[in-house]
Assembly symmetry: C2
Homo-oligomer: 365 residues x 2
């Protein structure tokens, strides 16, 4: 199939390209390289330099430039579009007005342009859009996949599962989902919306060293813990760490995206799948890293620090990922050995201790 | 109170200013006059020229210009901000990519800038934001005011009432509501979100001739019917006209806004009120205009034309407006005499027959 990957310079985009190409698809990749600019703006770099080959073959395209985007869609005529091309950082989006505006403009307007480009140039293409489990927030009811069956005053209805996101970044993804649901129904587009958990992993079968961010802006909590464990720093847990999040290995991201590709939304359908394999509280995750450290001779400690974010400190959390399990997803779960391997790989690299501490507080505007 | 009205050049903004000033408030008014530009773009004009005094005292401010907006907020230090400053047309938002992007940029980013301006310069101000009943769409369950009590797999929760808007304009208001809910919770802002029905009325006690749009872009269905009845044209009903919408007289808009002002959201609260007084199917509304026509000697006919929009042709619809009734709203309902008076007033003016027919079809991109 002709597959277009948007945001191919990112942590997920490049291995998706390599994986799908290996599977025999004709994959074209584009990016506007804005993530590199944002990294410079916040003075952060990934742990190891991007592989020079990573950007080989990436065509320049900014989704905010509709003319260029339309050109790409017209010339390549994709059958599948995998859309990772968004500003991915919640802390960045909360670092002030300019960043909030940049995030929502880049993500929402970029995706709007994409909607119109698809209608005009490849209306049958299946759009696979990456969202996040964070869109749902932490409601006191089980989190379904996009839709909720309710009975209200004796009437039954299926309604969009309401979203309660916790940052301007997460909000941008919620706005995208609303625009895409409408676009599917109004223009007959085929849209799969993947609400993804926190992805970890430093390599795939096809790519040896994936971009590894451990900083406060683009890093994830598990990456931070691994970097800290590898370098004999205490793991910084925000608050009591009793908040629960979903996770998956990047090899399962690839598996899920391929399953989504093989099981497309129908014309006019907005298909929602939750894309994760496990859930942990942050403190349990920290303890797993402590245990994994022992395997490689590290004595890891935990340091609780004030939570810079506003999050429910304790909450019910029961999201489902049944849709991918039904399609045959075989989760590669997080083991002490997986963590230990990452600690070893990371411990060989020089790092910048100054970019770990959170600089962005949610309460500041 | 010091009240800032954003979007004071519009149909609702100017009479709100006049009404609140009459009530003794200190009201400052701003606009960027973009609606006049959009009218020119679509070659439409309101029925009678804007009163020259209408724009007297309006300060220029574009919400997309954060520096100017911050200056206004800092200098006036409003206690209440009434926010009408949005692109208000669903057909305009559906007229192509540029207009969709303009609508969502203007509305969503403008309101984002306003959020940050309030946090910085007047964090105690009560923001009254105009949304629309169209945000809810037409779900098969009763429409509550912003929140829905559900029980799901034996767990109870109060969730945001899910939105299913039907145009990029309505979507922009939904995005605003999500951003504002977050801003209230995250920054402690006081926000009232008013989901308003379709407003009608050609004058208030304070303003004699309100902007009257009967065109396909900025006109409302009732205005179109009144113009058609006044000029012996058949009333153009979209489809079978069985879709149901909510309505209110502009004097009730003023009453509601004043009630919202007097009963503000608390710090950190996102308070939702549905602002309408009645609901009618479009065909019933047309028949009401036919009946009113008889009072003034008009023999009015009805002409069903294909619906340019995508709307549920028939649907359950039961929204509540209990919140304003509880606060003492005394609805001024739509009577044959009210319609007849509007027909008479409108029939004295020259009009442009070419701007009535719908030019924008929802299915076109």
């Amino acid at each position: 199939m002709r597959v277009l990957v948007l945001g191919a310079d990112g942590y997920l985009g490049f291995p998706t390209f390599a994986y799908l190409q290996e599977k025999g698809h004709h994959v074209e990749i584009v990016d506007n390289f804005s993530k590199r600019q944002w990294e410079a703006e916040f003075s952060v770099t990934p742990l190891w330099p991007r592989n020079a080959t990573d950007s080989r073959g990436i065509m320049y395209c900014d989704l905010l430039n509709s003319r260029r985007l339309y050109q790409v869609l017209e010339e390549f005529d994709p059958e599948v579009i995998i859309h990772y091309a968004e500003q991915p950082s919640a802390p960045m989006s909360m670092s002030g007005r300019e960043a909030a505006v940049l995030t929502q403009t880049n993500n929402v307007i970029g995706t709007l342009n994409l909607i119109f480009g698809i209608v005009k140039h490849c209306p049958k293409a299946h759009l696979i859009k990456l969202g996040t489990m964070g869109e749902y927030g932490t409601p006191g009811i089980d989190i379904e996949e996009g839709w909720l069956h309710v009975t209200h005053r004796d009437r039954a209805e299926v309604i969009p599962f309401p979203k309660q996101p916790g940052s301007f970044y997460h909000l941008s993804k919620v706005h995208d989902s609303h625009n895409l649901l409408f676009a599917a129904h109004n223009f007959g587009l085929r849209v799969t919306d993947l609400n993804q958990g926190i992805v970890y992993g430093v390599r795939t079968k096809e790519v040896d060293a994936l971009t590894f961010h451990y900083d406060d802006i683009f890093g994830t909590v598990l990456n931070r813990f691994i970097l800290q464990a590898a370098n004999d720093l205490p793991l910084t847990v925000y608050g009591e760490g009793k908040h629960i999040r979903t996770f998956l290995n990047i090899v399962d991201t690839l598996q899920c995206v391929e399953l989504a590709l093989k099981n497309p939304a129908k014309p006019g359908e907005f298909l929602v799948r939750n894309q994760f394999t496990e859930k942990f509280s942050i403190i349990d995750l920290a303890h797993a890293v402590v245990d994994a450290g022992k395997i490689v001779g590290k004595s890891v400690t935990i340091n609780k620090i004030p939570n810079p974010r506003k999050e429910a400190p304790e909450h019910y959390y029961n999201p489902t990922n049944q849709s991918f399990l039904d399609l045959g997803l075989e989760p590669q779960c997080l083991t002490d050995n997986t963590i230990a391997e990452m600690i070893v790989k990371v411990s060989q690299e020089p790092y910048d201790v100054s970019i770990i501490k959170p600089r962005v507080r949610w309460s500041d505007a």
